[in-house]
């Protein structure tokens, strides 16, 4: 079987790796350079703490079990000369800063525990043991020992290097322009800026541009960019030990509100800098700097760690999360066009979900039962139906092709 993956970000890389390890012939097409899109414009949190019970949490838990395995495999395959992917389960500490915020945070944690998340309420004193420089004025704190992280760019490069070892081919500076259809209407290849490629399946993994790419292939897909900005401080003595954020984050992630939203996830990087992020704004692919966004991030960070006030911010950066209207990624065959598959729409969790996405897609493409029920992520799911017109060729299941 031959598969084309469109997009050289972390989702394309993880998908290519999973497919090629199953002996599938994979070609990845990237219009710019690999890891030049969203996957190098965000952070590398693998968070369970911000997810309530449901399908996204299940996918995250699945990914969470895969990460240590993938980490060990990559170490093995790539050897010590490869830069560290910085996989670390440093744990998260989520706090409430207001009296009203305390109970919802505890309620949310209780709900998470019913779904198997290790969510441990901690007293203020214990929170200060975990994070000695935290603002003591917090009103509630939950410790999530399972929260982890990777360095997203190195991880994507590692997945690419590993996929190449299994025979996947990566073509950079090659943009997909249109689909090639068989006389029967199936998608059998793509036309690019450099020529044509034929395959049995085409996987769209083009991040926030997946809507455009799908359109070029003949269909709509409601992926929208949701801008996020991150602040980076200069190096400082190590004083923040977990991923620490305020409880509002929980409400923000699940929201579709286009207006500016920020929450301060604060963490130390391996280089000793501190990342403060991130904002969420639906303003299209607008890359212009807005000082008010940076200011709000800074304000929220200071509420959690007042000592940061004296630290230098040296950089801001950001990217566009691939946002879905029903808040779930799309992973699987598109019912409207045989041969078309999706692996996209991961919003602010695509790094964490990448390995689960790759594994699930490889199972589906190979006709094997996925380790986790894939139906909730299918492009055919009911919650997506209102956004999916027009159906060009009604075709129930392209796996039959």
């Amino acid at each position: 079987m031959r598969v084309i993956v469109i997009g050289g970000g972390i989702i394309g890389a993880a998908t290519a790796r999973s497919l090629s390890r199953r002996g599938i012939d994979v070609t990845v097409l990237e219009r710019g350079r690999n890891v030049g899109g969203t996957s190098s414009g965000g952070e590398g949190n693998l968070l369970l703490s911000d997810k309530g019970p449901g399908d996204e949490l299940r996918l995250t838990q699945y990914s969470s079990t895969l990460w240590p395995v993938v980490d060990a495999e990559l170490r093995d395959e790539l050897g010590p000369a490869f830069p560290s992917v910085e996989f670390e389960r440093k744990g998260g500490v989520v706090v409430a800063t207001t009296a009203q915020g305390a109970q919802p945070l505890h309620d949310f944690a209780a709900l998470q525990r019913t779904a198997g998340v290790d969510a441990r309420p901690v007293s203020r004193d214990d929170a200060l043991l975990l994070e000695p420089h935290l603002n003591p004025a917090i009103t509630a704190a939950i410790h999530y020992p399972e929260d982890a992280q990777v360095q997203p760019v190195i991880m994507t490069e590692a997945l690419i290097a590993s996929a190449k070892l299994s025979g996947a081919q990566f073509f950079e500076n090659e943009a997909v322009l249109a689909g090639i259809r068989s006389p029967g209407g199936e998608l059998v290849g793509v036309r690019t800026t450099r020529g044509t490629h034929h395959a049995d399946a085409v996987v769209v993994a083009a991040g926030p541009w997946s809507g455009d790419v799908s359109e070029a292939l003949g269909l709509s897909l409601p992926v929208k960019p949701r801008r996020g900005m991150v602040l980076v401080t200069s190096r400082m003595p190590h004083r923040i030990f977990h991923k620490v954020y305020d409880g509002d984050y929980v409400g923000v992630v699940g929201s579709s509100n286009a207006a500016l939203q920020t929450s301060s996830v604060i963490e130390t990087t391996a280089a000793g800098t501190v990342l403060i992020g991130s904002s969420r704004q639906q303003i299209g692919f607008d890359t212009r700097l807005t000082v008010a966004v940076l200011r709000e991030l800074a304000q929220k960070a200071l509420r959690l760690f007042p000592f940061l006030s004296e630290m230098m911010v040296m950089r801001s950066y950001g990217g566009f999360r691939p946002f879905m209207p029903d808040h779930l990624p799309v992973i699987g065959p598109d019912p409207r066009l045989p041969g078309l598959w999706h692996a996209t729409g991961h919003e602010g969790a695509g790094i964490g979900l990448s390995v689960a996405t790759g594994a699930m897609l490889a199972d589906l493409l190979a006709g094997a039962p996925p380790a986790l029920d894939a139906a909730p992520f299918s492009p055919a799911r009911a919650s997506l139906a209102p956004f999916l017109a027009p159906f060009l060729t009604p075709f129930p299941d392209s796996r039959a092709a």
Partner: protein
């Protein structure tokens, strides 16, 4: 009359301010320094008066006249110690300019936001110094540092100093060192006679006289002869050694591509070395304002010094390295047009003529002194490339090899080269050049070849610094007002 905001009070900015005031515009002039004059007229603070500071400067009278004219002009507001850290673009307007004002790197500095009718960017340039083994030792300085410390502090970087690199700037640096009590062991220019001949004349001072920059350089040259400082061509510093500070430097002959010629090394005891291979324009504010760059990575301007953004002008070293006289001419044109004047105005005739002359001069200097690629031959695996994050040449090679030739952006993010607090100001262009050597055309799959396009797109990212100068989080969090 428009409000004109000028960022940078070096020769270009000062000249722009005067020209804009001549037309009656309300001018605000900002500089992060607490003194006017920029890099060129860097001088002692008022707390250290002297009778003859002019000795250290070319055109000192031009500067003091400009300064007193602007300082006594009520229509010109000068804000010292104002670091511009961000520009927000606005459609059809120059944008909003955010500054923190107060002691450098202070906390709780006051904040101002400017929304001018016209903006003149005159942020100048800083030294470009190529890495070599040991360049991270204390006692190794940029050429500009030696100059700045001599002019601005009367501090000599050492007693026995070697000056090396490329470009005519090395000569005034050596002269300043001598005037500050150092013994200059020699001035070593990497380019060779032939390329210098092609670029200008065998004797640098002849050209400079021809280009009407003579007075200054003649002084330097006299100085040289008087102090018998060897000026040698085709020689470069290829390493520095010492335990916790520089003790010796090794120079070697280099070929026309600047590749060191084996067997020609010579080790010299020094207590300081200063090295500059050219200048890098300070582009972050121009990029923040949305200005387009040319293929040469300088800000593109039209006849009236207007950038690609309407009502945003650029002058001085950010439009091309051309020295003080070009900066003055460009500044005058920019200030005049920003204030609503026409390029055809007779009052601009001499500035336009000067600009023409000095642009040609700048071209010749670039041809003669431009950086060649052979210098990479003097790197060793453990040579630090990124000083902030201590990323070595070996680390970079390793990252490129491990990833099979990842993009500049990816290699930077995985090796941390250029991610430190200087934001790639020192190593950014060097890392770009090293990567294009380490993996030429690597971006392309079989049968493909258009790598440079994306390399150029990446290049802009190195100079793009949305937070142009670091500020304290507490300052960022505070509402200006």
């Amino acid at each position: 009359m428009p409000d004109v905001l000028i960022i940078g009070a070096g020769p270009a900015g000062l000249s722009a301010a005067r020209a804009a005031r001549r037309l009656g515009a309300a001018v605000t002039l900002l500089d992060s320094s607490d003194e006017l004059g920029g890099q060129y007229w860097r001088h002692l603070p008022p707390s250290r008066p002297s009778e003859r500071e002019s000795v250290l400067h070319h055109g000192w009278a031009t500067f003091t006249a400009l300064r007193s004219e602007l300082e006594t002009d009520d229509g010109c507001t000068i804000i010292r110690g104002a670091s511009v850290w961000a520009i927000e673009t606005r459609d059809g307007r120059p944008g909003a300019v955010f500054a923190v004002i107060g002691e450098p790197d202070g906390a709780g500095r006051s904040q101002r936001v400017f929304e001018p009718d016209a903006l003149v960017l005159a942020t100048g340039a800083h030294d470009r110094t190529l890495p070599f083994p040991g360049w991270d030792l204390p006692g190794v300085f940029t050429a500009g540092a030696a100059q700045a410390l001599a002019k601005g502090e009367r501090v000599a970087i050492g007693s026995r100093v070697l000056v090396a690199g490329a470009g005519p700037f090395l000569l005034p640096v050596a002269a300043s060192l001598v005037a500050t009590g150092s013994t200059v062991i020699g001035v070593y220019e990497a380019n060779r006679t032939k390329s210098l001949l092609a670029g200008w004349l065998p004797k640098p001072w002849q050209l400079l006289r021809a280009a009407k920059k003579g007075t200054e350089l003649a002084g330097y040259v006299l100085n040289h002869l008087q102090h018998r400082i060897p000026y040698r061509l085709g020689v470069a510093v290829v390493r520095a050694d010492g335990t916790d500070r520089v003790e010796t430097v090794t120079i070697a002959r280099v070929d026309a591509s600047w590749a060191p010629i084996p067997g020609t090394e010579q080790t010299i005891a020094v207590d300081a070395v200063c090295v500059g291979h050219g200048f890098t324009p300070r582009l972050e504010l121009a990029l923040a304002a949305g200005c387009a760059l040319g293929a040469d990575d300088f800000v593109t301007v039209d006849e009236g010094q207007q950038t690609s953004v309407s009502s945003v002008y650029a002058a001085g070293e950010i439009t091309g390295i051309g020295g003080v006289d070009l900066a003055l001419a460009e500044g005058e044109i920019a200030g005049h047009v920003a204030a609503g004047g026409s390029v055809l105005d007779a009052r601009l005739a001499s500035a336009l003529a000067h600009r023409r002359t000095y642009l040609a001069f700048a071209d010749r200097i670039e041809n003669a002194h431009g950086i060649e690629t052979g210098w990479q031959g003097w790197l060793t695996d453990d040579t630090v490339v990124c000083r902030c994050e201590e990323v070595s040449y070996g680390d970079l090679c390793g990252a490129v090899a491990a990833t099979g030739g990842a993009s500049l952006r990816s290699v930077k993010l995985s090796s941390r080269a250029g991610l430190g607090i200087c934001q790639g100001r020192v190593c950014g262009r060097t890392v770009e050049e090293l990567l294009s050597t380490l993996s030429p055309g690597h971006s392309d799959g079989p049968g493909h070849s258009d790598g440079p396009r994306s390399a150029a797109a990446d290049r802009v990212r190195t100079d793009r610094r949305p937070i142009a100068v670091p500020l304290r989080l507490g300052e960022l969090a505070a509402e200006p007002g």
